[in-house]
């Protein structure tokens, strides 16, 4: 049942992506100042939104774990964080490629870019911390606390870097000012397949966590015999 649901979701995501790619490449006009490359934004921005949604969901699951002590919440938090990191990496790398052309440099210390990098590093630390702890309940508890700390920190990081950068000259994001509504809608249209894809990946990862728990139980059983 669950496998069928996952396949269906992945199929819808693929169809939507194909349809969106057609619109993005062939129907939407070029951006006046940037040429073809502005189209990266239709993957860049939804990836960032998906990543932040994953981290937010992980925080909620972490709070739920601390309240209910159910290891399934912990499995969800770990899975969502991992998928969020994958989307965050996609966001960072596509952003760098775009910046190379438009701003002339691979990396600018733009608040959004820098916050994403710092958040990415914190959550990478979260996963490394999980690997370093053997005991499942101990790991779940410590990881939950780190996840809450990390998500509380992300907005503070964003505003601190924003203040820091306003003291320096910063590049203009959209030379033309407002975005065309058709382009703006496309950001959301392309977010839907990203969300579906993210959900499928989280489900796969959670299945693996469950299998891992079964393995641990079987190991204990085998040793007991």
């Amino acid at each position: 049942m669950r496998t069928k649901l996952m396949i269906a979701m992945a199929g819808i995501a693929a169809l939507l992506l194909a349809r969106n790619l057609y619109v993005i490449l062939l129907e939407l006009p070029d951006e006046a100042a940037q040429g073809a490359i502005y189209r990266i934004i239709f993957f860049h921005v939804p990836a960032a939104w998906t990543a932040f949604l994953c981290f937010f969901a992980a925080m909620i699951a972490s709070i739920l774990y601390l309240v209910k002590k159910d290891l399934r919440h912990d499995a969800f938090a770990a899975s969502a964080t991992e998928v969020g990191l994958a989307f965050g990496a996609a966001n960072l790398i596509s952003g760098m490629i775009w910046a190379r052309i438009i701003w002339g440099i691979w990396w600018t210390w733009d608040p959004r870019l820098t916050s994403m990098l710092v958040g990415w590093l914190i959550y990478a630390g979260y996963l490394m911390l999980r690997r370093a702890i053997e005991d499942p309940t101990e790991r779940a508890k410590i990881a939950a606390v780190v996840s809450i700390f990390a998500f509380v920190d992300v907005p503070i990081i964003f505003f601190s870097i924003k203040w820091w950068r306003t003291q320096h000259p910063q590049p203009v994001v959209w030379a033309g000012g407002q975005m065309d509504p058709a382009m703006y809608n496309m950001l959301f249209m392309n977010w839907i397949p990203f969300l579906l894809l993210g959900a499928v990946l989280v489900m796969i990862r959670m299945n693996q966590e469950r299998a891992q728990r079964e393995i641990d139980a079987m190991r204990r059983y085998a040793h007991a015999m």
Partner: protein, 245 residues
């Protein structure tokens, strides 16, 4: 308002009133930590020596007498504090591992929050001691007039150090049972404390050059205070679940 007051006095006959006892408990833990640290001075000496070495290394990385180096003075100073501080923070909970002292502390009739507050206060004192030694050395090495804005600088130092301490002590408690804790602690603490570090650097650089706190620096002071308050509250709320196994 009447009911809690009555309860407070009724309970007070048998035990201490709750708020006073929280403060007392934390101070007891803090003085215990300071006493045991001052007996061996292990972490303190290591931290001092490390801070001095980094200060020396910086002079090779940057031309120590150049005007540009003076403009990044605050950043250099806070990097030294953050690196040297990690040595002290690492030991904070790990010190209690031999002889199962940590289990005894957790089993003691005090809340996890009081234990955490006590440890954080002790770490604050130790870090402040290291910083107060580093500051004149830094002033001599890099020729900065750090005494001109002494009290504002002390305020920034206190707020920034508390931010480092509260995050560091919390993660010290989280990673205490890990084999890799010396590696995990800096990797988790430094990215999380970026806002505090950034604000402290922005404030320290002009102050250490003898320039007064101007109006445009006030938002940084607010950010630093907000960071301290948010994470102190979060740590006090969550530390109990972390410590109890």
């Amino acid at each position: 308002m009447a009911i809690p007051a009555v309860r407070g006095t009724a309970a007070g006959k048998r035990t201490q009133p709750p708020r006073l006892s929280f403060l007392r408990q934390s101070l007891t833990i803090a003085s215990k930590d300071l006493r045991s640290e001052l007996r061996t001075k292990e972490a303190l000496n290591a931290s001092f020596a490390f801070a001095l070495v980094i200060l020396l290394l910086f002079s090779f990385a940057f031309e120590p007498t150049a005007e540009q180096t003076r403009q990044i003075a605050g950043g250099l100073l806070w990097l030294v504090f953050a690196f040297a501080g990690a040595l002290i923070l690492n030991r904070s909970f790990a010190r209690e591992l031999p002889n199962d002292c940590l289990d005894a502390l957790v089993a003691a009739p005090i809340s996890g929050a009081a234990l955490f507050a006590g440890k954080a206060l002790a770490n604050l004192a130790l870090l402040a001691a290291v910083e107060l030694v580093c500051l004149p050395v830094f002033g001599v090495f890099y020729n900065v007039p750090w005494t001109q804005q002494f009290w504002p600088l002390m305020l920034v130092l206190l707020l920034g150090t508390w931010g480092l301490t509260v995050i560091g002590t919390m993660f010290s408690a989280l990673t205490v049972n890990l084999r890799l804790r010396e590696l995990m602690l800096p990797m988790l603490v430094y990215p999380i404390m970026i806002p505090a570090l950034l604000a402290a650097v922005q404030l320290t650089t002009p102050l250490i050059m003898g320039e007064p706190l101007t109006a445009e620096l006030i938002p940084w002071l607010r950010l630093l205070a907000a960071f301290d308050i948010i994470f102190t509250a979060l740590a006090l709320a969550l530390v109990e679940t972390v410590l109890v196994r």
